[in-house]
Symmetry: C2
Subunit: 318 residues, 2 copies
């Protein structure tokens, strides 16, 4: 029999790590995992495709980080603790330097958020990555999109729009000055899933989603799932308007995707808890509007008019 | 807000079904699932890429079946019961007829094996599919690759090699006559994961694997994981040799992948139970050799010589 070579050797070398969180990890037909009693299991998959979600030539280490981070973000939006990941890696060729860098970024993100890589697949083909992340939440405590109620206030974490501005910078459409440029590039290339915020919102937020398609597009998902409308007052964080002007800031804030901030709704009588949370987590939390009765999914501006701002990005729009 | 369109409408239309097995299925940031107390969780991902794992132009309904079936097979090889699946679908365009047919095949396989589709992702890009399947097994009962012991007998289910012969037929390299041709094409296009066999082998087989890379290649995985060698006697099922002759049958049987039969080892004093199982499941189970001491991974033939037969397929072999 030939020694371990090709696909299997690559997997062994870069992706097999001790997995104290698993009974059995990479290297059998399936991983064997032990769920925590009293918890529900959370499962989510996201795919990144070269030329669609990232430029050819993007640093492999950043891709390794981001391909896991965007999945951790989905669990953060549910108030879940990530535990295990499976990585399906499709590559045009086995480039060892590339793989080593990708694995470094992936494992750095896994370590930062406490996940074990327990399985996956390696195939030849056009470059793309699908991660499935599994996590846990105490039974009944998951944050859903469907719990927003009229009167709840709408909040957003961080500064969504920075990733979209970084993309425009990389395309040469606008110029960002330091240190704002670095902050935007980090938001695009090394997004920080709002894990601690998601945990803190359990029992506090009525609904939550992570902003991947754009603030208004993702707000629309919450509103339709909750069968409510929303009023959004239109203010944009000063940090963005000072850097790129009102129009570019507004478009990036409301329509830019890929930031992985959390958008959530909270009863107004718990506003002080949210403000205390912003201090404790050292993370800005902006109140951007409130949930109202009205047609499911409708968004009106501060003047009560249908919101005319830019929306988000969708694949396969006809 | 625009009505549901594009990506989201497609997902809704073809992939959202009632999910009685999930607390919350498709349509939030993550699915919420309830593990069964006293069980371990099994998780596995497999990717199919156009031009690598299937020809461009393969019937979408067959692809929908197969992309799930190959994952169910991984759980069968662990003795697990499949419960939930996540589907990451990457497509160059949103072709509604294609999607409807793919969904039909996928849901048919899900219904046949009792799974609920609970999540996934839809992205634009070169055609590929990654399924993550989650299943359960009573704690401590999973079949692993690492349990084979010297003296155990080696068994294979069904007729591996039929999928490889179908591929050669489709390539025009040989001609298969009916009804064997149909049986081979079904093995390639609509593989039947050996779910019932996997369940029956719990507490009976010492090790198991599903044959996706080829019988000898996958045997090699078992031998290395178990740190043992094997003697394989070289007999090939008569059904194959009568159809295509000794040489083509031997190559297909020992090196052909993609059949998803189970290869497993069992103590010789339990041979009668295996023979009874073949009758009960109406599934041929062939004894092809036995586990021996010796260099981990070594395979010798009936005459005691290093096995010189054809091996299996690997991606990324240098």
């Amino acid at each position: 029999m030939a020694p371990e070579s090709g696909e299997f050797a690559l997997i062994d070398r870069y992706f097999t790590r001790p997995t104290p969180q698993a009974v059995l990890g990479v290297g059998d037909d399936a991983a064997i995992l032990t769920p925590t009693p009293g918890h529900e299991l959370l499962a989510s998959s996201d795919t990144l495709v070269e030329g669609v979600h990232f430029f050819a030539g993007t640093a492999a280490e950043d891709l390794g980080w981001k391909t896991l981070a965007v999945n951790v973000s989905d669990l953060a939006a549910m108030g879940g603790t990530p535990r295990w990941a499976l990585l399906a890696l499709t590559l045009p060729a086995a480039d060892e330097d590339w793989l080593a860098a990708f694995a470094r970024g992936f494992h750095a993100c896994a370590a930062a958020y406490g996940l074990a890589l327990v399985g996956g697949d390696t195939t030849r083909g056009p470059r793309s990555f699908t991660v499935t992340v599994l996590g846990e939440v105490p039974t009944g405590m998951a944050l859903r999109r469907s719990g927003a109620r009229p009167g709840d206030e709408l909040w957003i974490s961080g500064w969504p729009g920075r990733a979209a501005l970084a993309l425009r910078h990389l395309r040469g459409e606008l110029i960002l000055a330091e240190p704002f440029r670095s902050a935007c590039l980090t938001a695009l290339q090394r997004p920080q899933p709002r894990h601690a915020l998601g945990l803190a919102l359990r029992g506090l937020a009525s609904a939550a989603i992570d902003v991947s398609d754009g603030l208004l597009a993702d707000l629309g998902h919450v509103l339709r799932a909750s069968a409510v409308a929303a009023r959004v007052d239109g203010a944009v964080p000063m940090e963005l308007t000072l850097a790129v002007g009102e129009d570019a800031a507004r478009t990036a804030f409301f329509a830019g995707g890929d930031d992985y901030e959390l958008l959530f709704s909270v009863s107004p009588d718990r506003r002080a808890e949210i403000e205390a949370l912003a201090v404790r987590l050292d993370l800005p939390l902006y109140r951007i509007g409130r949930i109202e009765g009205g047609p499911a999914g409708a968004i009106i501006d501060g003047a009560g008019q249908p919101y005319a701002g830019p929306h988000g990005y969708e694949h396969f729009v006809p």
